[in-house]
Amino acid sequence: MLLTGIVFVCFPILFGTGIWICINRTSSDEKMHLWEAYLYGFTGSIGIFEIGHLAGIFTKCTLTDSGRIITWVIVGASICSVAVLFRKIRTVVNLRKEPCKMCIPCMLFFLLMAVQIYCICSAPVIQTDGDITLETVNSFLVTDMIYEVSPLTGKVFGGAPLRYEILCLPTIYTLLCKWSGLEPAFIVGTVIPSAVVCLAYMAYYLLGRTLFGKENGSKEKSWWFMVIVSAVFFLCEQSVYMDGYGILHAGHLGTTIRNGVLIPLVLYAVLEKKWILACFCILAEACIVWTFWGVGMSVVVLAGGVLAGALLQSQKICRMFPDLTDEEGNLG
């Protein structure tokens, strides 16, 4: 159990750092942020699990075999990441130069985050309509196969739509249960939502840092931004469509991971022009949220963000809105 925990905390950092170094190998002055590396690793890990999940669906191999495939891919990715890391060790050593100063909003934010995690761990799980994750995980565990029986009845069934079957979250949770020996209800209802809260804050922190830029006092503003984000999560959770509901009551759902982690991350990627990260998010969404044969919301955010960037540089638009352009005649 402890080993599984350590792997799941350390692997995304290692893998994400490897990906980050590969992407930024040409620019030597770029600094890596630990949370960004973690989110690269997180989205990349979803891809690794998807490989095992698809193998299970299309080759009809057992879940244990899918788990073996995933384990080997994780081992391979770790070795590659370590190799890349040793070659560019200076980049990683250089990752944070500024001292981490604890300020009041920073402490307030961590306090609110701790309270939220406590709430997730202690409160009875609310059953969201249409959420069949727990049933699916239990079915996978008992049959050691992916979608062999109906998750809702346990009987042999006519099958689920393929676009739904390829979503890998139930396989991730099932393998976590298998590897850690913990109960599915605990993994799905407590461990995953707590991890998703942390991931959401990582994504929001990166977005906040970008929005407030490097001007004077931006660090303090970023932390206040995080405080307000966590307050909104706390106070805005009356219906299933709200970010707060997902984060506090349904962290294991694909839609929550999309809205809480991937959408802010895509926005961050668009604003920072990190196109590979944006593509990772789009692919991760396709692996975890049922979009039928559509491509999901991350694509809308990416396209909209790119379009907004292009509009800001468009001279025609500047001439249309002279009141909004600056002295140099730029809208942006």
């Binding site: 059953q127 809702l152 931004f225 307000i228 984000v229 469509y241 926005l267 604003l271 909209g304 963000g305």
Partner: protein, 303 residues
């Protein structure tokens, strides 16, 4: 054409439902207007890109025609409210509050002191509190907690007696839901898609009329409200009608159900009927009270 009219109605009704629930949208719009007024002050390209994207997408979602396009894009499986996923509402709200406080509070107070900012954040917290859930968080209702407790007791009994593998269980919806979500070996007569329409989207299977009738019968005879009315002798006719028939139990047994969970309160009505069904099918029947429920088990005698 009818499909488009449906989408149009959905866009209109969905938006009014959304603003009724998500009161922060008014605050978000205020922030967007504030940024438009102060647009020239912002020098950072990334920030302007974020605001422009957010502003345009909010306007597009508010206009029913473009809202329809988003609805078609996300498909009808998802409710209207999900199209707002592409708007970073939490980020806009949080950025806006911090910006307004840092830009406006010092000029209002005439000082740049920290205390004025603290007052500003307290005011923001109060607004968020009033527009939000006012400190009352979503909770599991007591009836559901009770049914989970009942489900746990029954599941523990079935696990202990090893009555799971190869047996088909039929009982009240909430009990069956708990059992299936906590033990993958439980096989149910029908699944949660019977009463949770959203759960039905995940498979191609459909239920027969007999199965639906069995579900309706079970919910009538096991509803806590009906059981209370029965106790005070004020039960409506449909409850008495349901208690007078064994047809649904017969249907369930024909559907290979061999474990039936019923409230112990109606044992007096059920005992003879269950025995009748068992005799018809040459089964032996045994019962065990677990908590508020009785587990009836049909068995082939020579097995």
């Amino acid at each position: 054409m009818n499909v488009l009219i449906d989408y149009w109605n959905l866009a209109l009704s969905g938006f009014s439902r959304f603003i009724a629930e998500y009161k922060y949208i008014a605050l978000v719009i205020c922030i967007m207007i504030y940024t438009l007024v102060h647009w020239k002050q912002y020098k950072q390209r990334k920030l302007k890109q974020f605001l422009l994207y957010s502003g345009v997408i909010i306007v597009l979602l508010m206009i029913p025609v473009s809202g329809m396009a988003f609805l078609i894009y996300q498909t009808r499986f998802y409710d209207y409210e999900w199209i707002w996923s592409c708007v970073p509402l939490t980020a806009i709200l949080s950025w806006g509050i911090v910006t307004v406080i840092f830009e406006q509070i010092p000029s209002v107070g005439g000082t740049t002191g920290k205390s004025t900012k603290v007052v500003g954040f307290l005011a923001a917290a109060a607004i968020l509190f009033i527009c939000g859930n006012r400190g009352v968080m979503q909770q599991v209702d007591t009836e559901t907690l009770q049914s989970r407790q009942d489900g746990r007791e029954i599941l523990e009994y079935l696990e202990k007696e090893d009555i799971l593998q190869g047996h088909i269980v039929w009982g009240p919806a909430k009990i069956m839901q708990y059992m299936r979500s906590h033990n993958g070996r439980v096989i149910l007569f029908y699944g949660r898609d019977m009463w949770d329409a959203k759960a039905g989207a995940y498979d191609y299977d459909a239920y027969t009329e007999e199965e639906i009738a069995c579900y309706e019968w079970m919910e009538i005879v096991s509803s806590p409200h009906n059981l209370y009315l029965l106790e005070v002798e004020q039960a409506p006719d449909d409850v008495h009608e349901a208690l007078a028939t064994e047809n649904h139990i017969r249907q369930a047994v024909l559907g290979d159900v061999d474990v039936v969970i019923l409230p112990s309160q109606i044992n007096g009505w059920m005992e003879r009927k269950i025995q009748l069904v068992a005799d018809e099918n040459a089964f032996s029947v045994s019962s065990k009270e677990v908590g508020k429920y009785t587990i009836w088990r049909f068995e082939v005698p020579f097995k």
